[in-house]
Symmetry: C2
Subunit: 209 residues, 2 copies
């Protein structure tokens, strides 16, 4: 089985995006604060965050991405929309985007191609695993796609960057997710975030129930 | 100002007690799983949890406790009720219990006295600080009392034992809490929990907003 991971930043109160997401503010109100550790990694005081950033940006064989992460969440997306990331997105691999609207693949610079999948999460994951071969598949986000992946038992390793921030409301990832066992296998931290890598399906205390 | 702390175990999905709390199951369904790291600290595989347990049980000068943590949460409590902890509770200090029902103090073995405060959280905290003098006050729980304390800005240090467990529903502690800044100042972990000590009011990324 293809090793499948997800790596997301989460607030102390459990949100991976703030309220009021929009084209102007895709992470929602306050959502950018979850990612300070990342954008500033390597700066003075943020040196120890580099390893977590490197893990986040580690090259995967393919990605699965939700519609809301790919484009603005209100209304139909513009068929000219090519993602938030400019001409050369940081994926450098096929990205399978969940959507209700069929669209031809969009080939970007640097090896990223966005494929649009209208048959749902399982189909997108199957295509990503096929494309990745022996390499890893990452569930890129957003919240609802990670929830779907967790509910489906599709994630082998979940890394959370727990940012010391309260957002008050927004998008959660664990709602409706059955507990298959999470085992913390690596924990690193700085003043700016606590990074916990969980093996999903680990049961440190014996059978879950 | 008296140094005021809280130390609670919390699930990966943000609950400090499960659903369906009752006299028979005061932590709610699954809630006991949050505390495995504590009850088993020192056993093989749990050695590194001893420091977190020692912090949890560290002697404070006085405690503030919610009504639901002191006694069963359904119906009027029995005036004979003397807490969940048997004749010698682990507090060894005055404990100020929030309640709507006046009651004479209950003196237990080992130095614990339960005082019943009907004037609300601020009054209970003031009495606890008075009793503690130079020593520390702990907000013992449960969830609603910790929420009140966080909302009031009364907590200087919050320690979370993040248990690798999903409870699905139950009691949260951050709802309606304004973000005064949380700075992780110490992180330890085992396979069974990630322990994060936050300085509340810390602002590692500059002004919060």
């Amino acid at each position: 089985m293809t090793f499948t991971t997800a790596h997301v930043s989460i607030s102390l109160d459990g949100f991976i995006a703030g309220p009021g997401q929009s084209r102007e503010n895709p992470l929602g109100i306050g959502g950018m604060r979850l990612h300070q550790w990342h954008f500033r990694a390597g700066e003075p005081g943020y040196e120890a965050n580099v390893a977590a950033r490197d893990d986040l940006l580690r090259q995967r064989g393919a990605y699965v991405m939700g519609r809301n992460m790919f484009g603005p969440i209100r209304g139909e997306w513009d068929l000219e929309w090519r993602g938030w990331w400019g001409p050369e997105p940081p994926y450098h691999a096929p990205v399978y985007v969940l959507t209700h609207h069929a669209r031809d693949p969009v080939e970007m610079e640097g090896g990223t191609t966005f494929h649009f999948v209208t048959e749902g999460f399982d189909a997108a994951l199957a295509q990503a695993r096929e494309a990745a071969g022996e390499r890893e598949v990452a569930i890129a986000g957003g919240a609802s796609t990670i929830r779907q992946a967790l509910r489906a038992g599709a994630i082998d390793q979940l890394t959370l960057d727990i940012a010391p921030v309260l957002l008050g409301s927004g998008e959660r990832i664990f709602d409706g997710v059955p507990d298959r066992g999470f085992e913390p296998v690596e924990v690193t931290h700085t003043r700016h975030a606590t990074h916990v890598r969980y093996r999903v399906g680990g049961q440190p205390d014996g059978p879950v129930g």
